[in-house]
């Protein structure tokens, strides 16, 4: 199993995920977002209220983790479906899973690498958990700010043997 070089994940993969995230928030949610910070870690501890996780398989292996403050999720739901929930309900979980799906799909399209398969999203409510990755996986976190609050997009990538 070969690890993706740091320069590759930063220069090739990360820009595609950032561009995909910005396009989705602007096109589907009408929200302009900005990057607050970049972070590196060997495990993911969600700082936000609701999280969507989706896998990439095939010619590249990866996991995409999208974690939103609940106010961002509520604002997104209001734009998306015309109703603003007041709690993290099924619609919010579904929406966050779909956001992870679209961010992954958009990045996959931009990367234009043949043979990449997008999995089905999983969602988690709450902050009391960790996602751990194998040692040969490189993790990058991008913290975004939206008019409604903050969220993070994290990518963990490795190349299959």
């Amino acid at each position: 199993m070969s690890t993706i070089l740091e320069s590759e994940i930063q220069s090739v993969y990360l820009p595609s995920f950032i561009a995909s995230t910005k396009a989705i928030f602007k096109t589907m949610l009408g929200l302009e977002i900005t990057i607050q910070a970049f972070d590196k870690a060997d495990e993911f501890q969600p700082g936000h209220d609701v999280t969507g996780i989706i896998g990439l398989a095939g010619s590249i292996e990866g996991t995409i983790v999208v974690s939103l403050e609940k106010e961002v999720a509520f604002a997104a739901a209001e734009t998306f479906i015309g109703e603003r929930p007041t709690t993290i309900n099924g619609d919010i979980l579904d929406l966050v899973g779909e956001l992870a799906n679209m961010i992954g799909g958009g990045a996959k399209d931009r990367l234009n690498i043949p043979g990449v398969i997008l999995g089905l999203p999983t969602t988690v409510s709450g902050k009391d958990y960790k996602i751990s990755f194998k040692p040969d996986v490189e993790i990058e976190t991008v913290q975004f700010k939206s008019p409604s609050g903050s969220f993070t997009v994290q990518i963990a990538m490795r190349q299959p043997a």
Partner: protein
């Protein structure tokens, strides 16, 4: 006009149904995957299908292939994040009438619907 909306995301189905309602379509039936959609399709009559690609049970491409194998000629719009050229070609070869890539805005969705919706 009656439309079958197929997506494993309930929120995405709501978005599409709202857009359909906005262009005058009142009869929308929802399915959460290709298998459920196929069962519904076999027992009802539709004028248009909008389907996602990546779904559990039976994906959108398999659904389109099954429906075309039954001889049905109704328009089918694929609404999906799968936008790579090879996948678009595969979808068209399977019998998809049109293709809408997520993310989309309301104008893009309505433009696709206007091509096929006759209320």
């Amino acid at each position: 006009m009656k439309v079958l909306v197929v997506d494993d995301s309930g929120v995405m189905r709501k978005v599409i149904v709202r857009a359909l309602n906005a262009v005058g379509v009142k009869e929308c039936v929802e399915a959460a995957n290709g298998l459920e959609a196929l069962r519904i399709f076999q027992t009802d009559r539709f004028d248009l299908i909008l389907t996602d690609w990546n779904m559990p049970e039976k994906n959108g491409l398999e659904l389109v292939q099954d429906i075309r194998a039954m001889g049905a000629t109704l328009p089918i719009i694929m609404v999906t994040t799968e936008a790579q050229k090879g996948q678009v070609v595969a979808a068209i070869q399977a019998g998809v009438s049109d293709y809408l890539t997520k993310p989309f805005d309301n104008d893009a969705l309505r433009a696709k619907l206007d091509k096929f919706v006759a209320v």
